[in-house]
Symmetry: C2
Subunit: 125 residues, 2 copies
DNA sequence: TTTAACTATATACTTATTGCATATAGTCCT
DNA sequence: AGGACTATATGCAATAAGTATATAGTTAAA
């Protein structure tokens, strides 16, 4: 799978693929974290619980670990069940930087499309 | 399938779902068109042929017609094979406007993420 | 003691998208 | 006839994400 310069999208109720992972990597860049708490922190990026399914979050984390973008370690908890604590790897940091570039490109495309729309709608009235 | 305020993404080599359809609807807003030619016009939105598979384009067009966002009619061609000419419907225009709003929201999210990244990377050096 | 609530993690099933691969067909030129 | 260009379409496979569901630890209430 060659990635090119694309953010990959899909059907049903979906956020941009790398958007979720980009957000997660960024949160982990600041400090280590575990799934359940990361879910709440995603609120900052307008990912409310009703917007992102928690199963997706766990799956993305597992996938990123498989890809060596993050590493995890089980931590016994003084309260409640044990936690799987994630940290970002150097590889993950590089990937994050890369996706940020991609998102910038994406943003430009959106701006271009919006401008084109405004221009088109204006001249058709 | 409730759409909420999400742009839906997916695996493999993917552009944002509604981005493709938004572009197509916008092109058809300006003037009617047929698949093959629309494919070339998409270059304006940085969809080069290597970036979007033409099978996807046809499928998106067929899907939008099923959803009544566009209508099509076969046109005999003086040269070459017959063409399936598409026009946007009023419903399609409404949908286009809606997706433009969604894209604006999407852009804001991207900006927010990028700012957060810059801020985070700066304070970590 | 049992049940409920909260915390924490995980996975099967289903749906949808898109590239790859492939196919059909009309027109023109070699 | 074969190749190139124009024009459209669909099966297969991979991937993502919601729904549904499951397991498990801790604490508090019934």
């Amino acid at each position: 799978m060659t990635e090119k310069n694309s953010l990959l999208c899909n059907g049903k109720h979906h956020e941009m693929e790398r958007f979720i992972e980009t957000c997660l990597l960024l949160l982990l860049y600041k400090e280590t974290g575990y799934g359940y708490a990361l879910m709440e922190q995603l609120n900052y990026f307008d990912f409310s619980e009703g917007r992102l399914n928690i199963s997706t979050l766990y799956r993305r984390l597992r996938k990123m670990e498989k890809e060596e973008l993050v590493v995890s370690a089980w931590e016994e908890s003084s309260k409640g069940p044990k936690k799987r604590i994630y940290s970002i790897t150097d590889k993950g940091k590089e990937k994050l930087a890369k996706w940020i570039q991609i998102l910038k490109s994406r943003k430009s495309k959106i701006v271009k499309l919006i401008d084109k729309y405004d221009e088109t709608v204006k001249t058709s009235h």
